[in-house]
């Protein structure tokens, strides 16, 4: 019975893994590659540990079963030995130290501008979520898209993430791991694409009824094609007005759309970056006095309801 089940399990696993490579392990950019490398490395080391435990368990079970021993056998009293305990602590400690070094290095890699692209300036894109859509603002190009993202290859990209509502998580598995978009703080996510192509992007953090469909398409293309697309958008797309953006923020699902201009002017992202929070109304009142562009911030709160 048990063997039948085990065989079934392994057959299914074998058939399924025979298919296309898993998305996370099929990276198309440097950050995802760093992460995939860490994942494969840790799977390797962990497999050794799993096999060691299985090995010891099988050894103990075959050798010390009651049915294999004489009736009079009395197991001895063994307190434990310092040597064995030292090995049991020592080896895991060494493994953890090794993995910690790898982990810390990778942390600083994925939290920094990807290297290897010369002195190219990163492309800055503001990615904000609202129930249940993604808004992508390109401040330098002065255009904005909904639910789709065009990016150039071979250039670092700096995403500025925030949310008009529940916490969401911006994730393009083949380009790199996710990060939260929140209403009171702007997060920065560094990515880059090395291979042109279309990739899946989504909100990975549960955000209510429309969460499952809260996805977006990513298309990576050469720098030339990208600037061609920007030009075309500027020629053909309608301007993004305050009213139009308020309409876009209404809860629901939308298709893809494109605008000239961005919402960053009339509805700026939360103040500060990586730790700069918008603390209380007194703070934002002060800001309003100094900065006329913040005048609409009180209005922004109406959209949230």
């Amino acid at each position: 019975m048990k063997w039948a089940l085990l065989t079934l399990l392994f057959t299914i696993a074998a058939v399924l893994t025979g298919c296309e490579p898993l998305m996370v392990l099929d990276p198309k950019g440097p950050q995802a590659a760093t992460q995939a490398k860490d994942i494969m490395l840790s799977i390797g080391i962990m497999s050794v540990i799993v096999l060691a435990v299985f090995g010891i368990l099988i050894f103990m079970l075959t050798k010390y079963r009651a049915s294999k021993q004489s009736k009079n056998y009395e197991p001895p009293h063994i307190e434990g030995s310092v040597l064995v305990e030292t090995i049991c602590v020592g080896i895991p400690v060494l493994i953890v130290i090794f993995l910690s070094i790898v982990s810390v290095q990778s942390n600083y890699k994925v939290e920094a501008k990807p290297t290897g692209y010369g002195d190219k300036e990163p492309l800055i894109i503001y990615a904000s979520s609202s129930n249940w859509k993604w808004h992508f603002s390109y401040p330098e190009e002065n255009i904005e898209t909904v639910n789709y993202l065009y990016i150039p290859t071979d250039r670092p990209i700096e995403f500025k993430l925030y949310s008009y509502g529940p916490i969401t998580s911006f994730w393009i598995p083949q380009l790199g791991g996710q990060k939260y978009a929140m209403s009171d703080m702007v997060n920065t996510l560094h990515l880059a694409a090395d291979v042109p192509g279309e990739y899946m992007g989504r909100n990975a953090n549960f955000s209510g009824k429309g969460f499952a469909e809260n996805t977006f398409n990513v298309k990576a293309m050469s720098e030339d094609e990208f600037s061609k697309w920007v030009k075309e958008v500027k020629k053909t797309a309608k301007p993004l007005t305050e009213d139009k953006f308020a309409e876009l923020l209404e809860p629901g699902h939308l298709g893809q759309s494109t605008y000239t201009g961005t919402h960053l002017g009339f509805l700026p992202p939360p103040e500060g970056e990586n730790g700069g929070h918008n603390h209380g109304s007194s703070h934002s009142m002060k800001a309003e006095k100094n900065d006329p562009s913040n005048e609409s911030s009180s209005e922004s709160e109406h959209h949230h309801h």
Binding site: L6, Q35, S106, Y108, Y180, R202, F211
Partner: protein, 647 residues
């Protein structure tokens, strides 16, 4: 009519109406049955008012099994919905409610009472005590948990279930995005149960520190008692955080404060931090008693003392400290930067070291043993490889840069189920089978028991291994559906088959209880497993006073020493025994708490004020009551002991 509108279900479906009818009929059957068999008096005097730790343990056990059924039905519905792409079995709203209640029920109302059941039943017996330190407080703990569980469970037929996930992250769970009363249930029901848990923590720390049998120094305590001590210490430090957090959440939802809202300076990150400052230690609150059970079971059936007793104790203490230093790993992706993530990445992976020590000590306990594979032992042996897979994937998740890819995916879901099911559920089933004869005076059938253990463990692999793959393939958790082009279909179908297998396994356990109740021999010894610690040194059924003479202890395996090395366990003569009186106050007070909670959920302020007064009246009554308990006379003890010995 406006008044009654609030109690309506916002998203009704035939399943919910059917459940309403089923709940109604069950209540009628129970009331009619109790009346027909004239059992109201028995129920009141023997169970509802009892302060006996053994009976409270059994009531926890029954509640846990009921909640396992409830949470399991949720699980099956989820896996069925996801079994094929674009399935229409459930809509988004129902799916969201179901995964929310699945999580809350399984963690708070299934796993917690299960460990409480075993701690209540076993710890006083294992330390040679006659009850816990505060028996009436113990009854109050149970009834508060029970009323919290009932309040949470009526949500899906009155007013609507919570739907913001078991983590209930704000601002999603706030009134801005969750208008229905569902999240009120979450805040209030868990609060009521949590107060009970906090009291248990204080009660058991006191019991273990102050009421051990003569000779039982701390380092001579059986391992399960050690695990209970460490667990309750974690409870006392972690649960106040939950209490405060839920109070803040309640104020945001009902009184218009802005702790976690998107406007007026609310901070959504605060909820996530607080939640996991409680939530991560909570994981160890569940797993450490499970480790304690495994230590007892493996040592008993390897017929050997536990290998490395001191390092077992040490590793639990280290785990309990580290458990408070890792909470950020639940949101490496929140943007706290490389330095913070690096620190928490290292503390997280460090937990693998003491956990590994425990694992290797169990393996070395088998060394030179005489291993007998009974049902509890089978669970323990299946636990080791399954838990190892779950555990090492935890180390992988601890690598924060890689976690950006695992976070919020099915990989994470696979990991924590592969830790909690073998770690906690197998242990509880092992403990259930192991202690069943002490609780009920007969053994569960070994054949059915072993068969269900195999089904459950293999189904666990079948249900959760595929999720590692679909997670790495980009399947986020908590999605109610997916399109066929994603390629998630086959993985989820296998998961569904595994979930169905788990259902079969648990049904077999229910059948085993029925079968054994009917056919098992009642003529069993007080120590049917040939065990090693004090809980097996008293009679079966255990008399109300546990031990006629308090045992004298010389090692962590006092019974074994008595059996093998001629240690005298019960020196001396019978003396009259002081025992606590039963009390109806805990049950009545908790019932008032139930109405209090219900009023809170629906903002019914007048009943809320009245019940608040009622709760204080109950506390006042207790404060001024002069109840000094009662004595059992020597004659009565002699009579009971002779009867039990004769039986």
């Amino acid at each position: 009519m406006d008044f009654f509108d609030r109690f309506a279900i916002p998203h009704p479906s035939p399943v919910i109406y059917a459940s309403m009818v089923a709940i109604g009929l069950t209540v009628i059957v129970i009331i009619a049955g109790l009346t027909y068999f004239k059992k109201w008096g028995y129920l009141w005097s023997e169970w509802l008012t009892t302060v006996d730790h053994k009976r409270i343990g059994i009531m926890y056990l029954i509640s846990a099994l009921l909640m396992l059924f409830r949470g399991g039905v949720d699980a099956i519905m989820m896996r069925a919905q996801l079994a094929v792409p674009e399935n229409k079995l459930l809509d988004a709203q129902h799916y969201n409610e179901i995964f929310t209640t699945h999580g809350v029920v399984m963690i708070i109302f299934m796993a917690m009472p299960f460990i409480m059941a075993l701690m209540n039943f076993v710890v006083p017996l294992q330390i040679g005590a006659r009850d816990v330190a505060f028996p009436r407080l113990n009854a109050l703990s149970f009834w508060l948990f029970f009323m919290g569980a009932m309040l949470f469970n009526i949500s899906f037929v009155i007013g609507g279930s919570p739907d913001a996930g078991w983590t209930s992250y704000f601002p999603l769970a706030g009134t801005e995005f969750s208008e229905s009363v569902g999240s009120n249930y979450y805040m209030i029901a868990i609060q009521i149960a949590g107060i009970g848990t906090l009291m248990t923590g204080i009660n058991f720390i006191t019991t273990i520190l102050k009421m051990r049998a003569p000779g039982m120094t701390l380092m001579k305590m059986p391992m399960f008692t050690w695990s209970a001590l460490v667990t309750n210490a974690i409870i006392v430090f972690a649960f106040p955080v939950l209490t405060v957090l839920l109070a803040m959440g309640t104020m945001d939802r009902l009184f218009g404060t802005h702790f976690f809202t998107t406007t007026n300076g609310g901070m959504d990150m605060l909820w996530a931090n607080f939640f996991w400052v409680w939530g991560h230690p909570e994981v160890y609150i569940l797993i450490l008693p499970a480790f304690g059970i495994y230590s007892e079971v493996i040592s008993t059936f390897a017929r050997r003392n536990l290998y490395g007793y001191k390092s077992m104790v040490g590793s639990m203490v280290i785990i309990s400290l580290l458990s408070f230093l890792v909470w950020t790993h639940h949101f490496f992706t929140m943007g706290q930067g490389a330095l913070t993530n690096s620190i928490f990445s290292i503390t997280t992976m460090a937990i693998a070291v003491p956990t590994g020590v425990k694992l290797f000590n169990w393996l070395f306990t088998l060394w030179k043993g005489k291993i007998e594979v009974t049902t509890p032992m089978l669970y323990a042996l299946l636990f080791i490889p399954t838990f190892t897979i779950g555990g090492v994937t935890g180390v992988m998740l601890g690598m924060s840069a890689a976690d950006y890819q695992y976070h919020n995916t099915m990989f994470l879901v696979a990991h924590f189920h592969m830790v909690i099911i073998p770690g906690v559920v197998f242990a509880m089933l092992a403990g259930l089978t192991y202690y069943w004869p002490k609780m009920f005076g007969f053994m569960l059938n070994e054949k059915i028991g072993k068969f269900s253990a195999w089904i459950i463990s293999m189904s666990t692999l079948l249900a959760f291994i595929p999720m590692f793959f679909s997670g790495l393939d980009g399947q986020a958790r908590r999605m109610y559906t997916y399109s066929e082009s994603t390629g998630f279909g086959p993985w989820n179908m296998v998961s569904f088959i595994g979930a169905a297998g788990l259902a079969v396994g648990f049904a077999l356990i229910v059948y085993n209880i029925y079968y054994s109740t009917r056919y098992a021999s009642r003529d069993i010894a007080a120590d049917p497993w040939d065990a090693r610690s004090l809980e097996w040194a008293t009679h079966t059924p255990v008399p109300a006073y546990n031990f006629a003479i308090l045992p004298h202890v010389n090692s962590s395996e006092a019974l074994w020493d008595a059996k093998k090395h001629g240690h005298e366990l019960f020196p001396g003569e019978y003396e009259k025994i002081h025992m606590p009186n039963n009390s109806g106050v805990p049950f009545i007070m908790s019932s008032i708490f139930f109405v209090w909670g219900f009023s809170f959920v629906f903002s019914l302020w007048i009943p809320l004020i009245l019940t608040t007064i009622g709760i204080f009246v109950c506390m006042g009554l207790r404060s001024f009551e002069k109840d000094h308990g009662h004595y059992i006379s020597v004659d009565e003890i002699e009579e009971t002991e002779n009867n039990l010995r004769g039986a």
